[in-house]
């Protein structure tokens, strides 16, 4: 009985043939709905901060150098490739690529930094009034994340607002 089952097993193995994939010698295409790392297009980005406000990993940092310059930094190290940033971006500046070969010996290699010019109205000196969908998702006020240490500064809205947002919890960052 057990011999018979062994023979059966051997037959199954023989029928399957060789299944080992030749990767990395040969490329291995991804499935159609695969999400790799997001790629930021600096030419399209308007710096609304919607991606940073909606990223579940707090992975996209914003540092407002002055009123006209906003630095957007995608750190890359804790990205879950969820695609929420690409979904929320009003300008479609983020594409979820199929790039998965991101292994590296220096973690800074996966980062992307974009310096953006934030236009102000020439007449009144204030920012443009946003249409409503943008209004919903944009980053309100300024943010001063710690770019040198890839650290998200929690509750930086409170830095400018006198009243804290309702669901803000103060967390000691590392």
């Amino acid at each position: 009985m057990s011999l018979l089952s062994k023979v059966k097993e051997a037959l199954v193995c023989l029928r399957a043939g060789r299944v080992t994939l030749p990767y990395p010698a040969a490329p291995r295409p991804v499935a159609g709905n695969f999400r790799g790392r997001p790629i930021f297009d600096a030419a399209k980005c308007i710096g609304c901060g919607g991606c940073a406000a909606n990223c579940p990993a707090r992975e996209i940092l914003i540092h407002d150098v002055c009123q006209e310059i906003r630095v957007l930094r995608y750190v890359g190290r804790r990205c879950t490739y969820c695609g929420r940033c690409a979904d929320v971006c009003p300008e479609k500046a983020i594409t979820m690529s199929t790039d998965f070969e991101t292994a590296t010996d220096a973690i800074g290699d996966i980062g992307q930094t974009i310096e953006l010019f934030m236009s102000t109205c020439q007449r009144c000196g204030r920012c443009f009034k946003e249409p409503s969908p943008l209004e919903r998702l944009k980053q309100k006020g300024y943010r001063f994340d710690d770019l040198a240490h890839d650290r998200w500064v929690f509750g930086s809205r409170a830095y400018l607002d006198t009243e804290r947002a309702v669901d803000d919890i103060r967390i000691e960052m590392d």
Partner: protein, 178 residues
């Protein structure tokens, strides 16, 4: 130097010890997937061992937690020199989406020195093989930091001192780009 060392010491056989310090098990499944006949990393001499004392490489999954950090450190210290540490998955590379939770210390590099990072949540089995191939020098890494700088301001900056009254109209004199 590290690469040369890897090629010399680990080129033929790389025994790996698999340490999960608080991941969701997603990365563990992918690591085990890498050991199946489909991906078959024993082609490269990679073998999973049960004790850190037999291992050359530690595969870390999951962020460093308050409760597991000490055990992770001890496992690292038990591996004989020379040793490599791979951080597999976004949790190990950067703390993942739980990087600011109360029980999470952060990326595993806060506890043990990490040599290679394989981001992804979880990384594909191919991505893990790619990371190993980068480490043993079979392929070159493809990533490089991307930086975009604003070379010049697209519009001129107006300043009240540059405005001059010319009878009825106000003339703006300076129109050079800032």
């Amino acid at each position: 130097m590290l690469k040369d060392l890897c090629r010399r010491m680990f080129g033929r056989s790389l025994w790996v010890y698999h340490a999960n310090s608080g991941g969701c098990n997603g990365c563990d499944i992918e690591v085990l997937n890498v050991l199946t006949p489909y991906y078959d990393v024993e082609r490269f001499g990679i073998k999973l061992v049960g004790s850190p004392r037999h291992a050359d490489v530690m595969l870390c999954q999951g962020a460093a937690m308050r409760s597991t950090a000490r055990a992770l450190r001890r496992a690292y210290e038990a591996i004989p020199e020379p040793k490599l540490v791979f951080a597999i998955g976004s949790c190990a590379c950067g703390g993942g989406i739980w990087h600011d939770s109360y029980s999470v210390i952060g990326p595993v590099e806060k506890i043990v020195p990490v040599n290679y990072y394989i981001p992804g949540c979880p990384p594909r089995p191919e991505a893990i093989i790619y990371g190993v191939a980068v480490a043993v020098g079979l392929v070159d890494k493809k990533t490089a930091p991307v930086q975009f700088k604003q070379a010049e301001f697209p519009i001129p900056r107006y300043h009240p001192s540059d405005l001059k009254s010319d009878g009825e109209v106000v003339v703006y004199e300076k129109l050079d780009r800032v």
